[in-house]
Symmetry: C2
Subunit: 164 residues, 2 copies
DNA sequence: GCAAACTATTTTAAACTTAAAACATATTTT
DNA sequence: AAAATATGTTTTAAGTTTAAAATAGTTTGC
């Protein structure tokens, strides 16, 4: 049992399709990096990836975002975003205010404390990512980013076709 | 001397940025496909991706696997695997027996019913994957698989370095 | 032999996630 | 203007996931 494979690709058999192989490898790579980052966030900042993600979205939008946009950007359910928001408000890291014109919608925004906290985490986060991905080399990174850009585009297209 | 110094530093920062960008794109792509597959599994077979994953690992190993191996292969916690196993046993899709020589360890194995069920799901699964990834084109798929193979290798190396 | 250390797994408690229902507010229709 | 419909968000209930503690069994060092 010594040379045992330890990831999603382990299930491959010889006649598997190239698409399937790519999908399993994609899943392996993102799981590897994601598990690393998740563990580091917990260890150093006692927080979680979803919470970090949430704050990262807001950091790019100084005017804040409405809950629906956040849900779409993070590709998770509205209820999920709602729950994370409640925690972050309790910790004083974000504000959540209803709009004047439409009292159904809420805008969430980083507080000063939230921004300060996020900046500290983001600096470490980038270091972790570079540890994981940097060794691949710049040429490979550029090429991978380009190809994944294509994949994203075609997947989104396929998705909207099937929802017609 | 100053110009050269600044150049190197600027280059470094730029490279770092690329790592981060690639990571976010990787996460986007796998989330897109993963959400599609997850939703399809629920809709057509009323099951989940982890349960499918679990059975997929067993399908390749007619002699079964011990819980620890499964946890490593699926890159999830042991407790998680344990919970999934309990469900699958209840549904009669796998067996779970303790070993003669070491009564701590359990071997899980697909039952006949489990294998039959899995084969049906796997066929559809491959169709969904091809819908999502196939449109990228064979050349791109090959190239992506190769680059992700590199990424996997370097990430695993970085990981084992940091665990020394 | 036997206690200490180790290993494999399960259980537990807390956090996360989702779909669906509920709620609150806006907009459109009649 | 009332009713119907649509929209944005939260709540709920059920299931998933994790780290850590607990349990059970095995191996090691004296």
């Amino acid at each position: 049992m010594s040379a045992e494979q330890i990831d999603h690709e382990a299930r491959l058999v010889e006649d598997d399709h190239h698409s399937l192989k790519l999908w399993l490898r994609l899943l392996t790579c993102s799981s590897l990096v994601e598990n690393n980052i998740r563990e580091s966030l917990r260890r150093e900042f006692n927080t979680t990836l979803p919470r970090f993600d949430f704050m990262a979205q807001l950091q790019r939008e100084p005017d804040g975002l409405v809950m629906g946009s956040l849900s779409k950007r993070m590709m998770v359910s509205g209820g999920n975003v709602s729950g994370i928001a409640t925690q972050l408000v309790k910790d004083g890291l974000i504000s959540r205010d209803s709009l004047k014109n439409d009292r159904r919608t809420f805008v969430v925004k980083l507080t000063a404390k939230g921004l300060k906290t996020f900046n500290k985490m983001a600096a470490r986060h980038e270091e972790w990512v570079i540890e994981n991905i940097g060794p691949l080399g710049n040429d490979n990174i550029e090429q991978l980013a380009k190809l994944l850009g294509e994949l994203k585009r075609t997947t989104l297209t396929a998705q909207s076709e099937s929802n017609k």
